[in-house]
Symmetry: C2
Subunit: 155 residues, 2 copies
């Protein structure tokens, strides 16, 4: 298997964090996410999709491992240019999940508002390291039982 080239597949999303305990408090203690594997003081892996783990790892180690000469980026650029989205089934749930993220230790970047792009309600928060999440209800988004995603055309 897997001889057709690079498949369209992501198995790990690893976030380099300056404070692993703070990241763990947010995702594991705060949001209640269950680690698949953790090595205390070293790394935490959490399943976020079939076949896929979210990794929380020390920022300096991630940079060195990825071949970066300059070390970890300045705080204001952590996760720069990227957003992770969590889609929910109702507008009420958008509001509730944003509140829950704040309770867990996240910071609101954009309160829930209507998206001009897909018409649903969404808002953004940052985790303690500054990585950005969107929480969204998109009426044109659907996932089949087999995992296939359908997305209505952008209006």
């Amino acid at each position: 298997m897997h001889n057709r080239g690079m498949e369209q597949r992501i198995n790990f999303i690893t976030l380099g964090v300056p404070d692993l305990e703070a990241a763990r408090r947010f995702y594991v203690d705060g949001l209640g996410w269950e680690p698949t594997l953790e090595v205390e003081g070293e790394v935490v892996f959490i399943q976020v999709s079939p076949g896929q783990l979210l990794g929380l790892w020390w920022a300096d180690k991630l940079e060195a491992d990825a071949g970066a000469a300059g070390g970890a980026p300045p705080e204001e650029y952590r996760g720069a240019g990227m957003v992770l989205s969590h889609n929910v089934d109702s507008e009420e749930e958008v509001v509730r999940v944003l509140e829950e993220a704040v309770t867990a230790g996240g910071t609101i970047l954009k309160p829930a508002e209507r998206s001009p792009d897909f018409g649903g309600l969404h808002g953004h928060f940052a985790d303690p390291a500054g990585f950005r999440w969107e929480v969204a209800h998109n009426p044109g988004w659907r996932v089949d039982a087999d995992g296939r995603v359908h997305l209505g055309p952008v209006p």
Copy 2:
């Protein structure tokens, strides 16, 4: 459903790119990944896991949408602090996928070498916008038929 709080789930990974056509050439034309939805000149969505799409969107629009006041980050900090990983079944495949990424327009950041962390072979490349990917063969990594990931303890 979905009333238990924020589930451990990522539905979109959206990368803000300075040149959407360059990103499309790499992922769609180069790697051969099939878009689930694309709006020409605007956005491209590609399924990368069950229930999950990779989004390629203009960097300035992503920042404005996420509530960032400062606009798109400097080029050298795009995707800073984060790595996306693509796991494969053999060491030979690590080498082959890295070559394929280069052919598609990617740039090698670290050639294939043995990881001191998990003992397998891995290497890193950057996409045309600078987002970083790891290609890895980890002998301790396994995905069950139902999508559950198993990961051996870090040595």
